[in-house]
Symmetry: C2
Subunit: 334 residues, 2 copies
């Protein structure tokens, strides 16, 4: 049975309100009694009951965080960033997985509501506009991270997909490549559309007309990348470089090249996107576009905390991507 302020009050022979005050703002209490109470509290091993406090203050100092699955390393890093700043500011974070199931996702958010979290962060949601009513019902700030429909909501943070792709293509152009293919993700994600657009931008800016035959479709996984790469290899005029939707796709592409005896990067350069932990361990180590995941988590949390302080009604942050040059890209030889 934990000790409460009433217990302390009884022993110190003061009212429980005095104890509460002595513990919260000692200045509003007689110096000596304040000290007396505080040492007493310590020696009794007093631990404030946050549940009771929350009921009274109507704030839980808790953030809800819903993701498809933390088992995804990409997501896990963002969560780490969120948790880091939340913890520093005295907030706890409720983590819930939705497995990408919209129903589960909504259920989870609802549960967050019942638990009276102060704010909700949602990662990579596809729920989109379904959130509107939920949001209104909850009436707590919502921050969307890498959402598929960020435009519809006030606060969001996402990577600069287009700029990142542009970076990748620019790098390849600098290396002398002209025939640069893109392996996308056929699942119709916004991020794919943006990366494709970045690829186009880059080529156009260099005076190259983006050839449709150099656009192949993967599925965001190695298998799809492999297949797409093989399709590209069947072309009469091969590309000399490939920009992939993500690292997983690039990994598949690499495998296909390896299987066909085409050396990377000597005969074909490959660029990924994400900079997953494993990117540096591929053979050859993958040149890729990095998403600052932990940092994105931090900024998302910071945005949330700002919202809780009543700052700005809404904000859309687009985080710049950076290029990480490793061993899978080289100057064009042929």
């Amino acid at each position: 049975m934990p000790v409460s302020i009433k217990d302390i009050a009884r022993i110190a022979k003061v009212s429980h309100s005095t104890v509460s005050r002595a513990l919260q703002k000692p200045d509003s209490v007689n110096r000596d009694t304040a000290d007396r109470i505080r040492t007493l509290a310590r020696s009794l091993g007093y631990r404030p009951n946050v549940v009771a406090r929350s009921l009274s203050t109507r704030r839980t100092r808790t953030l809800g965080c819903v993701v498809t699955t933390v088992a995804d390393p990409f997501i896990a890093e963002v969560v780490a960033g969120i948790e880091e700043v939340a913890q520093r500011e005295g907030y706890a974070v409720h983590l819930a997985n939705s497995s990408g199931d919209p129903e589960r996702e909504i259920g989870v958010v609802r549960s967050f509501g019942e638990r009276r979290v102060d704010g909700v962060l949602v990662m990579a949601s596809r729920v989109g506009s379904l959130y509107r009513p939920l949001l209104d019902e909850l009436s707590v700030p919502l921050v969307l991270i890498d959402n598929q429909h960020p435009g519809e909501f006030g606060r969001s943070i996402s990577i600069d997909d287009r700029g990142g792709a542009h970076l990748a293509v620019g790098h390849l152009l600098e290396l002398g490549h002209r025939r640069i293919a893109y392996i996308g993700d056929r699942n119709g994600l916004q991020s794919d559309a943006d990366r494709l657009a970045g690829w186009r931008d880059g080529l156009c800016a260099a005076g190259i007309d983006p050839p449709g035959e150099l656009i192949a479709q993967g599925d965001g996984k190695p298998e799809g990348g492999l297949r797409a790469m093989e399709g590209l290899l069947a072309l009469r005029a091969l590309p000399t470089a490939i920009f992939c939707y993500n690292d997983m796709t690039a990994m598949g592409a690499l495998r296909a090249l390896h299987a066909h005896g085409i050396e990377t990067p000597r005969r074909m350069s490959v660029v990924g996107f994400d900079d997953l932990p494993l990117a540096q361990f591929l053979e050859p180590p993958l040149t890729t576009v990095r998403q600052p995941r932990v940092e994105m988590g931090r900024r998302a949390a910071a945005m949330m905390l700002g919202a809780l302080r009543g700052e700005s009604p809404g904000e859309r942050i687009v985080v710049p991507a950076t290029l990480v040059v490793r061993g899978s890209t080289a100057r064009r030889t042929s």
Copy 2:
């Protein structure tokens, strides 16, 4: 302003206790009024305030989960498993990172205490016996996962390191290998000692005297594995197979072999431990010992829920490891 049972009571012209009952156990209330109240609650968008309920029932239906960092994919998967069953049983999970700092870890557990979580799960803690007092102070069930000092506490779950190592060595022996090296982790982890012991067991059981020269020390990371492998390659009598403390170490070993032009697995077989997501993507795909991470998380959560139901005062689960044979091992040729 969310609606409360009092609001409903007023509108339905009953007492709030009736509303409470109608919502909790409808059977204890007149069928009709129960229905009336329930539909009313729904139409008003009533959401129970879990904070208030927790204060009253003294149970929060919340689990605290402290890890070094969720950014580690290994840990993230365990967390996913925990969250999965917790959510299914109506429990929320508070996630906190300690960054491996004992002080932070204790601070976090303390905060969990103040938030009155119903139970605490701790992963890969090094805090060990420091927990004793904290635990007593909290007086909630504690489940330790892959702890470095599991013996000291009631409930724990960990992988069968020794058995897993035995499995790996057995596989290599079956392939005809006799000179099998072990690359460990010099940081003095219990798991390293156990895997080393498993290696010894395996060799002894095959009538081979474990040669000290075939024990090399890495650091659990690719770099260390690479160095250790190079040490091994300097031996006059080379091993024909290597069992590594973990996949990261194996990755380094693979790199060293590649650099020295020694083909894997034709001239040297390599086995890892963990089965990280990237293991299958290495060149060649890594044969390794799998830890069922998500499952371990599930079982840890299940153990916790059991504890909360008052089952068994303590329990030590050792999860069997399994061997995943891929392309980095082959029959001895030389």
